[in-house]
Assembly symmetry: C2
C-alpha cells in the first residue's frame, strides 16, 4: 500500500494548562492513537481563553494539516468560548443544534437538574457543524470542515475520539524501534548522522537519559516501511558495537533524566 | 506598584514530545516560576524537528511576547537543529562561541572523552548571542534578543532558567485563590459569569472534577491585586452558599476527572 501523508494538529485551549497548573494528558493519548492509524501529529498550540488567540490558531492549523483537534472550553461557564470562536474562525453563525438540545434536555430531565441557559450553551455549535457523540457526559463535541472540537477532560476527550475515529483517513501505520546503549550522544553522533542520511524515509531521534547505573541514550527510529525500519535499526546496532557499546533493546527504566553528551 | 504586563511564550522542539511518547515537564515548571515573577505564559507551540516550523514559531512568538523560551534540540546529534534555526530566524550567522568552546574543551579533557566535531556543535550559537550557563552538563544555552534557548532535559532546563532568572523583567506577582464545591458547573455558571463581569481584572476559571464521593468543581481566581482577589473569592463563596452548596478551600483530592456540567 502506498503511504498517504495524513497529518494532524492539536489546539489545547485553556489558561489552566498554560499556567502549568493542569498538565495536559490529551496530546499523549492523541499522538499515540493517531500514530497507530498512520496519522502524524505535526504541531500543537496551547492558547489561553482569549478569542483572537483561539481563532488564529485554528485558522492557521486548519489550512496546513489534514486534521485539527481542539480540546477544552466547551462547558457551560463564561470561560468556555471554544464553539463561538470556531464559528468566527469559519465565519458562520453560532446556533443551538436541535439534536444536541434534545440529548441534553433528556439528560437533565432524568437527572432532575434544571436545563438552564448555561447548560443550553453546551448545545451551541457553528452552523453546519456535525455533532460528535459524548457517551460519558452527554454534552456533544462537533466537527466543522477538518476541525474536531472535543472536551478537555481526558476521559471525555477519549470517548469523543473513539466515536469519530472511524471517519479519519488513515495513512500507512507509523512503526517505531528503540535501541538503547550506554555510549554518550557525542560518541554516537557522527555515525548516527550517517545512518540518518542513508535512511531519509526513517526519522531517527536521539534521547539521552540517566539511570542509577550511569548514563545512556535511547535511539528511536520511526517509519512506515517495516523492512527499511529493521535495516536502519540493524545499522544502529552495528554502529553501537563498532564504538565498543552494547545495544540494548527497548528503553531502560529511567531515573531523573540527565544529559550524556 | 503599578502592574507591568510582562508576557512569555514557549516553543517546545521535538518529535518525541509531539508523538506523545515523551511528556513535556518544562511548561509546568516555567509556568509556575514565571507566574511568581508576574510574567504570564501566554502561548506554547510544540513543533517537530523541522527547520521551517521552528523558525516560524520563534519569529511569531518573538514579535508578540516579552520573552520566548525554547526547549530541546541543542545536543550533538543530527536531530539537534535549534541553534541553526534560531540563527536563521534572526538572519545572522551561526558561529562557534569561544567561551563555549573553552568550557566544553575543559569538560571533555577532564572526562577523557574526545572533543569531536559533534561535541563542538554544542558550542555553536547565532552571532551576537549571549551564553546561558549550564551548571549541570556544561553545554550552554544562549539568548538572542528576547529568545532564550534552553535544553529539553528538565533538570538542565531548570538550571539554565535559574542562571538567567535575575535578568527577567518582573511584573506584578500573579496570585491565585481556589474555591471548590460540589455543585455542577451548569448550576454555578450564571452567577459565576456575573462575578467575572464585576471583576474584569481577575481571571476566573471553572474546572470540573470527579472524586470518589461525587462530582464537583474547582473555581480558580487569578490576579495581581490581593484585595480585589480576596473580594472576588468572597463573592464566589457567597454564590456557592446561595445556591445551597458549601465552599471548600483549595482543591480536593482528585480521582479520574469527569465532567459535572
Amino acid at each position: 500500500m502506498e503511504a498517504i501523508p495524513v497529518s494532524a494538529s492539536l489546539v489545547i485551549i485553556g489558561n489552566e494548562v498554560l499556567s502549568g497548573r493542569t498538565k495536559d494528558a490529551n496530546l499523549a493519548y492523541l499522538g499515540a492513537q493517531l500514530a497507530e492509524m498512520g496519522i502524524r501529529m505535526m504541531e500543537v498550540r496551547i492558547v489561553p481563553d482569549i478569542e483572537d488567540r483561539i481563532i488564529e490558531a485554528v485558522k492557521a492549523l486548519s489550512a496546513r494539516y489534514t486534521y485539527v483537534f481542539t480540546t477544552g472550553g466547551i462547558g457551560p461557564t463564561h470561560d468556555d468560548i471554544t464553539a463561538a470562536c470556531i464559528a468566527k474562525a469559519f465565519d458562520v453563525r453560532l446556533i443551538r443544534h436541535p439534536e444536541a438540545m434534545r440529548v441534553l434536555a433528556a439528560h437533565y430531565a432524568a437527572s432532575g437538574a434544571e436545563f438552564n441557559d448555561a447548560r443550553k450553551k453546551m448545545a451551541e455549535v457553528p452552523e453546519g457543524a456535525v455533532l460528535v457523540d459524548n457517551p460519558v457526559s452527554k454534552a456533544p463535541g462537533f466537527r466543522i470542515a477538518n476541525v474536531y472540537v472535543f472536551a478537555g477532560i481526558p476521559r471525555v476527550m477519549q470517548a469523543m475520539f473513539e466515536s469519530i475515529r472511524h471517519e479519519l483517513t488513515k495513512g500507512a501505520p507509523i512503526e517505531s524501534r528503540t535501541v538503547s546503549c550506554r555510549l554518550g550522544e557525542g560518541t554516537l553522533a557522527a555515525g548516527l548522522g550517517a545512518v540518518q542520511q542513508r535512511y531519509a524515509d526513517i526519522d531517527i531521534g536521539s534521547y539521552p537519559y540517566f539511570v542509577a547505573g550511569g548514563f545512556g541514550v535511547s535511539l528511536v527510529l520511526r517509519g512506515t516501511d517495516t523492512d527499511r525500519l529493521q535495516q536502519a535499526a540493524d545499522e544502529v546496532r552495528a554502529l553501537i558495537r563498532d564504538l565498543g557499546g552494547e545495544p540494548l533493546e527497548g528503553e531502560p527504566q529511567r531515573d531523573a533524566p540527565q544529559p550524556a553528551a
